[in-house]
Amino acid sequence: MFDKTLAELAQGLERGDYSSTELTQAYLQRINALDSRYNAFITLTEEQALAQAKAADEARAAGNGGALCGLPIAHKDLFCTQGVRTSSASKMLDNFVSPYDATIVSRLKNAGTVTLGKLNMDEFAMGSSNESSFYGPARNPWNTDCVPGGSSGGSAAAVAARLTPAATGSDTGGSIRQPAALCGITGLKPTYGRVSRYGMIAFASSLDQAGPMAQTAEDCGMILNAMAGFDPMDSTSAERDVEDYTAKLNQPLAGLKIGLPKEYFSAALDAGVAEQVRNAVAEFEKLGATVKEVSLPNTELCIPAYYILAPAEASSNLSRFDGVRYGYRCDNPVDLEDLYKRSRGEGFGTEVKRRIMVGAYALSAGYYDAYYNKAQQIRRMIQQDFVNVLNDVDVIMGPTTPKTAFKLGEKSSDPVSMYMEDIFTLSLNLAGLPGISVPCGQSNGLPVGLQIIGNYFAESKLLNVAHQFQQATDWHKQIPAGVEV
């Protein structure tokens, strides 16, 4: 049963093969039995889940169940959930129980989903390996010596280990797509503004975007249907109608124009990954697509620009964690300065502190123009590169990550090599574009992700392209060795 997709589980509920309560109990049991291997969950919400399942069963019996009614999911632990600890995987918020639901949490609740629990992640979503979590790293189900990627590492590991059929994630520089690639699942980062950020603990406000992570593109579409849409509580959310993201999944791809950026197939790309990506592109040609080489000339500037802008915003966003109103407070502060210094010094982990310092430096008097303003200029150039290419092709394809999953500890002492993990993903956040990562092969027994990039608000197109690929291939159905279903 645990190999089933969200869409298949929905059919089972509809047919009455099992109730939501049975389904929920089964997943909770599985998590309790297996998660010690993966450390994907920070908090299990068994009582709430069973109550939600019961309500969903009643709704379904009364004929009020929508597409997602009664389906279990889990939330990345940076989405505020009322009455439940919302930690952002930080010691700083280890004691924080949110008094309110994030907009996406309430939307998914209203759609009838059952929340199994809260998922592990890099602290405050800062990282590419899940190693910066206060609760210890989540592990990659394909090889538990390897990282699941990050920052939505718990989400990816949980879906890959079939501990939940689907999860929410957030993506500031690749945090949905990179772990999806490393764990062999499907993850969609929507267009900036498509999904409300209200109640999502901010890392970098102009880059953060929530999205779905699941086995298939179809499942991602089902969840996006509930997540997406304008929110009056988020001024940056788009006032634009929401499509039915499952409606166009079956459109044929004949005539689809694919662009392959030459910069993405450079020397830095692992040969095994390159081969799988090229095979995937060949599969699309079989489906009737045409392929041409394109250029995103400023690709190499993405990392320096991103690592100015994201930390700059983070340094300010994380100022509210000061030990005064909620969250971690140091013992026996002697005065205000001591309270601030020790609460923040003890409450934040190394990577978070590194980024706060980098960001504060980039914004400080005398450096602002050289760093922050320059990075904003680069951001506009990168955006323009994409606009130019997407005038010419329907979608851009390439590897999601330069390499497959790496070993725990391998990059933790070298932040810059860790940052390179996101070279293909973070340009989309800078440009605000949507992207999806789909499993497209394996290299040395580890999954390889194909990234498909579309135009603004082209989520429907991306899901269609990914779904057609998944109809033609079965990489998304591969289950890690050792994961019994």
Binding site: E313, L318, R320, R325, Y340, L363
Partner: protein, 484 residues
């Protein structure tokens, strides 16, 4: 050496929106601590600001009222610093692209100095909460009710040359924002707070001296006193061979002194950058013009109208138009009494005296414009004299009631019946032989002044109710008849 004083003001005006600038919480003053602070105001994780369009409208109204350019694109920025009453660790404010650009206001001091004060700009921002140090032993309490209250910060150029000009400028801003109805003008509750930048330079010198900033002054009187105190300190310092240090100082009204809060070296690097949670505010001409249509008559225009329409002196017109609630009150009294000068005298005289003595805003006056107007009508129709009217007013203030009710209840109606007055005059003259002799002995041109005594006696006998005009006439007639 002769010194010139140079002053620039930064005035924070609390906008009278119902809800906060970036959240739906109420802005009402005086609630229990932290009962008007929602998740956004508390800066809970994940919360986001949503801009209150009413604050934008009010800022545009202000800009139009001070002849300023309106920013068609304005941008909120974050001013980053740590303080317990600043829940997000940054204040959302405007810096590079404010909503109101350069403008000006014309001021006039009590002693007749006129000056045009240029505004550098005015911007929208959120207020911080309050730290309460008294109530908690060894700790500080935080009240975030005020956090997120919308403010317009109005920054002047250093155009003022005396403390009186600074106070006149602050009064003018107060008059404008209260007339516009965008601020309740209550300075005691902090609805308008003033920072004064003060420096001195030798007269004739172009270069500005080093300035100090006097923080958070909340009355016009204190603006004058704080600046005078600070100017005296700077002059003493320089004349003793010292130099002024650029710093923030606090004015202590009890000791009438300023003292250092922090120097420039200790100042924060605020790391301003555009707030990524808020979109740039874009407005067009039609938006601005629609607001221009709604502007009420402004203090300068009202002052001119008071002079031309009501024939008031420039001074009276200036005083009455300086505060919109007072100007409204005055106009209402005029409407009822039909006498512009008498109304002005009473609003600026007896009413102002009572308001001052009782520290009461005219909006909360126990005597309404209707009551005062009714009183003036009774002066005009000779029912009571001006002196009796003061007595009626006092009763009105303390006990309420209309003029007619009080006059009736207290039996204060003026005696205008000549027969009755003549009878009393005869009695007074008969009982004052000595004074009558003196009157008769006096030179005819001195006699006018001597009537006062007899007048007093008549008033005493009638309890002040006799019509003074009638009494004077009858007295003069009867006394002069004795002299022939």
């Amino acid at each position: 050496m002769e010194w010139e004083v140079v002053i620039g003001l930064e005035i924070h005006v609390q906008l009278s929106t119902k809800t906060k600038i970036f959240s739906g919480a109420s802005t009402a003053f005086g609630a229990e601590p932290n009962t008007q602070a929602c998740a956004v105001d508390l800066a809970l994780p994940g919360t986001l600001p949503v801009f209150n369009e009413n604050a934008l409208r009010m800022a545009v109204m202000f800009g139009l009222a001070v002849n300023a350019e309106i920013g068609k694109r304005s941008v909120f920025e974050r001013k980053n610093y740590f303080y317990p009453d600043l829940p997000k660790g940054y204040q959302t404010t405007q810096l590079a692209e404010p909503i109101v650009g350069p403008g000006f206001v014309d001021i006039e001091t009590d002693d007749g100095v006129q000056r045009r004060v240029r505004l550098h700009h005015a911007h929208l921002e959120e207020d911080a909460g309050k730290s309460l140090h008294e109530d908690f032993h060894g700790m500080s309490g935080i009240d975030l009710n005020r956090a997120g209250t919308p403010l317009v910060e109005i920054v002047s150029e250093p155009d003022m040359r005396s403390s009186k000009e600074a106070a006149a400028y602050a009064r003018k801003i107060h008059a404008i924002v209260t007339t516009l109805g965008i601020c309740d003008g209550n300075m005691a509750e902090g609805s308008m707070r003033c920072d004064c930048n003060v420096s001195i330079r030798p007269k004739g010198e172009e270069k500005l001296g080093t300035r100090t900033e006097l923080k958070n002054i909340n009355s016009f009187r204190f603006i004058e006193r704080a600046i005078d105190t600070e100017v005296a300190r700077q002059i003493d310092l320089i004349e003793d061979g010292g130099t002024v240090v650029q710093e923030t100082r606090l004015y202590d009204p009890d000791k009438n002194e300023t003292r250092s809060m922090r120097s420039k070296e200790e100042a924060n690097d605020y790391r301003y950058f555009p707030c990524p949670d808020l979109l740039p505010v874009i407005i067009d001409d039609s938006y601005i013009e629609a607001i221009r249509e709604t502007l009420p008559e402004l203090p300068d225009a009202r002052r001119e109208r008071f002079i031309s329409e009501y024939n008031l002196s420039e001074y009276d017109a200036g005083v009455l138009s300086a505060y919109s609630a007072q100007a409204d009150y005055y106009e209402q009294v005029v409407k009822l009494s039909g006498d512009t000068k008498l109304s002005a005298n009473w609003v600026m005289g007896e009413l102002a005296k009572f308001l001052n003595q009782n520290d009461t805003d005219i909006k909360d006056s126990p005597v309404s414009a209707e009551q005062l107007g009714g009183l003036l009508v009774r002066i005009k129709d000779n029912t009571i004299s001006g002196n009796i009217a003061k007595k009626v007013f006092e009763l009105m203030w303390s006990k309420g009631g209309t003029a007619d009710e009080i006059i009736e209840a207290e039996g204060l109606k003026q005696v205008t019946d000549t027969g009755a007055i003549e009878k009393i005059v005869d009695e007074v003259i008969a009982n004052a032989e000595k004074q009558v002799e003196q009157y008769k002995a006096a030179e005819p041109d001195k006699r006018g002044k001597m009537i006062g005594f007899f007048m007093g006696q008549v008033m005493k006998a009638t309890g002040g109710k006799a019509n003074p005009g009638a009494v004077t006439g009858i007295l003069k007639q009867k006394l002069d008849a004795l002299c022939d």
